[in-house]
Symmetry: D2
């Protein structure tokens, strides 16, 4: 990455985004590096110099490593930890039936034979299963991380050990980050990619900016994140989108499974691990009744909580009412709340003013997609701050008022299910299989099927993704008779619903 | 209605549809006239002559009635029963907060001032609240029934007593049916309508066919039913749609409230009223996990049933799995099922072959939108039938096998929640308020906003409908701050979600 | 019944009890005769003369009837309606697997051979199944009703048609009531009973008073009701109990099944049939969190209600908290309540003062065991009453305040699940099988096993009752290995729990 | 403890029990020392020498320590860690409202003034709150651990820092164990105790054996555990019980709260922490439907599991049926089970034979009160073992079949909620408050109220314990009116239920 890039405003903005991305809602678990640093140093306040120091420079990674086969076209932290990563990948495989079925079913015809995929995602055991699935389906791949903190080093090592060109480690600097993307693109290595799988849009952006001539061979982009999709639609509007793109983020397999069930699985687990609190009879306020809020409410009620909901959208509010949750404004119940969970997708849903009203011992955590739902600026601005913060466990702070009142703040307001819980591989399998099918679709589509626009995956493929996960539940689908097909006006193999169907 | 019409094939087809409509899924309760006849005559098989005899000819209605004010432009069964109908309407008003709020909020500016609405809907206490709401909003109306059996005569009388031109009674003949539509249109009375509110598309069809010249003053059509919307889309494709139309059927306020919660409310109630069965521990099979199936499953589990689901669509099947329902093929569990509930929207989901496998005492009922889900043809074809049918209560038959096995068939396979349960006014209020707003929107829209096409109601209006129902739950919405609006890129007053949002 | 008895104070008190009993909590459904009268006469206010007139004098019953076999030793309303009653009994048999299994399993050895049972219970299809079960087990029986209103006349006729000596009809006078008991005892007919099955204690009381010499042959009393058990314990204390007695009322099969699940089954059904209200999102207050309250809360939450609980007992209150219900004092939430359900077992849980605070349209009903939970005295005292009462349906009154506010009062505060819902036969089967086993135990027990005291059924028999009902659920018990029996110190055949086990 | 004791058979048996106790069901969390050892040594198989080596001899503890006040009459691991323990205690205090309320309410009259309590319990933050509560109520105490592994050293240090005579550390030898009990009794220190609070019966047994003459001043024993209560009843039968004893184990506050809700809170948490599995749609088998099983089933269903139950007791089985769980024999569903949870209280509920049928990846864990529910003998007998065991995480083993099938075994079959989850302080507070009240009752009872027998706490005190925990839920009790008291025949202040009431 040249100085030119650094000097340029847009690039600066990009870097801001990259930094911001460390907190972005994703489908994988990451451990906050800052917290790790603090813990190991016994120092809760990272110094500025710590912030700027890269843990690994790219050069040291590049220079030394070689896997057991002598392969060197990768950059990971410690190739020797490959076996630990392999075990993690194997465990993940057991709970990712969709991808494993895809391997088995599609392997014979290798639908990605000839595909050269550059990928930029979180590097976790779960994405490793995706990457290796793509390879089994015929693809060649080069890969990098979409987040400077989220890489599981052992997993990256395991991939490198399989002679996969991966460039990623936990704790990259911004320079490292862009260097890794560049290496993944592989132009200098003479590689000519024809597919992009992106999560966040950084790879797409960088490719567009520095390798736009290579777009001639690109068949399409698959993008998973809110942010990345947003950037694609912008390119579309400005007519700078050079190839077709698939929006995986808004597919039903993501919104109605990943968003809903991942949160249902995580909310109890995350709060328990952090606080060991009893849930029975506790008064919980869930701010926001979208898919995330719905998942949280369902789990909390299942454990005997008394659940309040806050909402801005009357339709979602009415849904909450019909399910028997009490829809309130925060200030009506804040004094009696035992825990507050933000899931609004908004900013400053909880402010200092709210905190002042909370009762002693109340728990505060964020399940929403950004880290701005709880305004924790007071934690940082020491000049005006009358509150003390005491770290009581990893990811758990007590915020202490002058009168001794303590609030339990989880993960400094960052996304709890990523910081403090685990992400069930099964749910990730659904999204990952959607990504794989999006690649297959774009790679094999006839020339004119897709224009330079942003598409949702055809419904039939969403249905296929779902069907890959049914055997894990011993679930057996019913097949339509010819007569029923005719009556319903649909094909025996689907799609079974109109595009606007809400599920 | 002239003989010409009768002689004409298309008209015959229309009549078939009209007859078919008596079984169509609707938002209101109706009582099967055939059953009433049989009961009163003590004869389970209506004779052909009974079928052909109109209970009321239009002439007798027309000739004699006059309300207390001397008004005569209506045709109902017994104007004297108006007070009973008025009480029913008053009771419904208490559970229709959306419409009542609309009256209060919009009354001052009378957004339908100048509207001349022809309506064709079921005539029930709930639609009466809608009709009178439209009038309060400034509209003039003429009304008829969309179904020959579903009119609540007392309610029709109550409307007539208010000098509303209504033409409807329970047990119309086909001739009566079209005569009433014609009277509602009111061309012969010199009326010039400018809005159409239809449920099923018959009014629209008749108007299009016989009064197409009047379309010049029509500002739009609001249609609520699956069938009617289907017909509108067909007209759209054949470019015969002469005015804009609003599709209320696929609005979120219908699919995510009416379909889901109406069924959750009705399934227990309907089966209890018919069979007095205990639900705890019963093994129930719900065929179909769409909104209707979801509502049924939720209620059944809430009462302690053990619930199986059958599905053709892998996405819905995966949802059922994630909620902890066992997804099976019917034949896997049919021998042990205590009750089978069809909610597939398909045809012949339950066949004679299935029935043969059911255990003694099993209950069979249909919650789906057509009457064809359970193939009950064997009930009618006496020549080949080895089964006996014994009516044990209204809407409850025992089907008896030669070996003595008895199956409990509810409502002859017709839609149970309409036959045997009640329809909660509250849920209807949501849909009815959507209809009212659709009229207001079309009536007041600037000239070019809507073309001759089929539209969904703008999301903001869906949200408004929802907001009208929140006070009934003491629910209080949260308001976005300016900062949050900016962050989210949305307006403080909504709409709050993109159009593709699934809720 | 002689005049002496009538003149005597104690007998007068007995009659008061008999009258009071018409409202007592029982396990069977009854239909309020007054309501029937009112309906048929179209007159909502029964006259004093109606109240005093017996619908049937005993003489007319006695004189004329004869069944198809020429048998005459019975008194029922219309022997000709026997076939209708038989069908009701057959339907009940299908949902009473415990009794039916008892017939099959115990029939070979006829454990009640030689037993001569006098029974005094409600006369319903369900008790008919019990009575005929006892006969199949070898018993001879004579039977009468424990309640002047609750007899299902067709069922009584069906029993008489089987040549069972039954003396019962709906609408007995007090004189009829005692006459029927006397006839059931059968001393004048030369019968010498040896077992008593009572529900309420009237038969026991009358027998003790007038036939105490016959106690020498009585082997024991089985009593099912709260009141009857209370009277037995009193006799025990005053040492006037002449034989052993079994308290079925406090058996686990009654308290943990009948009380809990019967109410869970009835609460939604009863309110729906009366009001057609939607439950989703409604704010319900359940007064009392005993077994009845627990059942109500569970069902209400299952339908999407928001449930508040009031309690006097901190242990039950803590249970409600742990289940996520909000425990409040009535006055805290009464203004926002949509429905109030009393299940406290107490008196005047709801007073006029509470009613004044309720909002327009609120629903008020009683699920508790007495009719005094809601103080409805204002309904009767017209002199001081500022409230109007309007009957809107059977069992549903609107109570109207001077300002127009209306409260919906169900069944005049009587027990809703008996008035307005049905009682699932399955649950009754559990209690009835317990009664049958109690008879078998007392009849066959060795001489010294039971003294003149009140006993609970041995746990092993409770377990047997439960086991009889498992096949209906396809439930399969696991059997202990010898090693496990030794480890647990229990017998392979049970009993499996200590007596104090709470379930 | 002298060699004489060691040589003696009974003492050997005692030591066996002491060792066994390390696995006994308790109300507190402990961490398996063996696992800790293994982890720190990186050696999964503890050697025999490790097993026999005491981590701390009593002498080193005794000799050196002194708290800040110069107090030395205690023996803990590291007095310097007192501040860490104090923080844990403070956190626990926030979730133990019952004990804290007891401090506030009863402090003024100090009902334990003059009490000299010897205690033998797990030493955790939660018991520390109990101990310090007793002191606030006026008691003097000396304390030791009832389990050689479960002591939280920091907590013990915190107590010692408060000059409490505590003798306990994690990893005591058997000799240490008895030495600590002896020191707690304090006879050599000239102390004369008058109350015993025991958990498991070892202190009672030791006291009875070596200090029986001191019984003359003992006013009573409070015992919490199944085992200890069992031993007391045995003493009662052999007439060797020298003082009154309170059985806390069977109080309603223990069985209906601790057993039920503690397991509901722990089951999801424990399995998640060990396996990160997704629960939605998983097929879970819960073996046993007592309070523990009920809690597990409720939580699992709340997370979307499909739940099967196995039972030996038909009454519990019928309860499971009525709640909608499918009651099966293990072999019917074992091939499809995703997880099996034992909660039977029995032995060898899961055998090798069952394990052979499980599918790949199935999870196996124990929530029951002993460690024998899952027969894991094959893990130990290497000679005959064809299975491999691979430790994948703390408390998680993969058991590997020759064909590669892997079963996930949690905590080697020990009680999962103690090994892998946390114990919510709130639930412990209920039991601990019961213990405190039992001490108060026995200490203050008039001379003749209690004989040398085993008693349950008076119901009124159970109710008081419950009432102490209601404010934490903002729960407000309703008070009976005088009229209601009279009607119900109960006192305004309770007790509110008969002794046999089941809750």
């Amino acid at each position: 990455m040249s100085n030119n890039d650094n000097g340029n405003d847009e690039a600066a903005a990009d870097r801001d985004k990259a930094r911001y991305r460390t907190d972005r809602r994703t489908s994988v678990q990451f451990i906050d590096l800052n917290l790790i640093r603090r813990r190991s140093s016994g120092n809760d306040k990272p110094t500025q110099s710590q912030r700027l120091t890269s843990i690994n420079s790219n050069y040291e990674n590049e220079s030394n490593d070689k896997n057991a086969s002598g392969f060197t076209d990768f950059a990971v932290r410690r190739i020797k930890h490959a076996q630990y990563g392999r075990r993690e990948i194997e465990i993940a495989e057991q709970e990712m039936p969709g991808l494993m079925a895809l391997r088995r079913r599609a392997e014979s015809d290798r639908p990605l034979q000839g595909a050269k995929v550059i990928g930029c995602t979180h590097i976790t055991a779960q994405t490793a299963v995706l990457i290796e699935t793509l390879i089994r389906l015929g693809a060649q791949v080069r890969w990098c991380a979409c987040n400077i903190f989220s890489t599981q080093n052992e997993v990256a090592a395991a991939l490198a050990e399989e002679s996969i060109s991966i460039f990623a480690w936990k704790g990259e600097t911004d320079d490292d980050f862009w260097w890794c993307i560049k290496k993944a693109i592989g132009a200098e290595q003479g590689w000519q990619p024809n597919m992009i799988l992106d999560d966040g849009g950084d790879l797409t952006h960088y490719f567009h900016k520095h390798y736009s001539t290579l777009f001639s061979t690109i068949k399409g982009i698959v993008e998973e994140s809110v942010t990345g999709v947003h950037r694609l639609y912008q390119m579309c509007r400005t007519q700078t989108l050079a190839v077709p793109a698939m929006n995986v983020n808004d597919s039903v397999t993501k919104t109605k499974f990943d968003n809903l069930y991942l949160c249902r699985e995580s909310i109890i687990d995350g709060i328990k691990r952090c606080t060991d609190i009893m849930f029975g009879g506790k008064q919980a306020v869930v701010c926001g009744y979208g898919e995330v809020g719905k998942g949280c409410c369902s789990a909390l009620r299942g454990m005997g909580c008394f659940v309040y909901v806050t909402e801005i959208d009357p339709i979602c509010a009415l849904q909450a009412c019909m399910e028997g949750y009490k829809v309130v404004r925060l200030e009506e119940v804040i004094k009696q709340a035992d825990m507050i969970i933000t899931a609004s997708g908004s900013k400053h849903t909880i402010t200092r003013e709210s905190l002042d009203k909370l009762k002693n011992g109340a728990i505060l955590c964020n399940m929403g997609h950004s880290n701005t739902e709880i305004d924790v600026s007071f934690l940082r601005d020491s000049s005006t701050n009358d509150l003390q913060v005491e770290r009581v466990r990893t990811n758990v702070d007590h915020v202490i008022w002058p009168n001794g009142k303590r609030i339990v703040l989880i993960a400094e307001g960052r996304i709890m299910n990523l910081c403090c819980s685990s992400v069930p591989s099964f749910v990730v399998s659904i999204t990952a299989a959607t990504q794989a099918l999006a690649l297959i679709e774009l790679f094999n589509a006839p020339a004119n099927r897709y224009k330079c626009d942003v598409y949702l995956l055809p419904k039939k493929m969403d249905e296929y993704v779902a069907s890959l996960h049914l055997p894990a539940f011993d679930a057996h689908l019913t097949e339509l008779t010819d007569e029923q097909c005719k009556y319903l006006g649909i094909n025996k193999a689907g799609p079974f619903k109109p595009n606007y169907y809400r599920y």
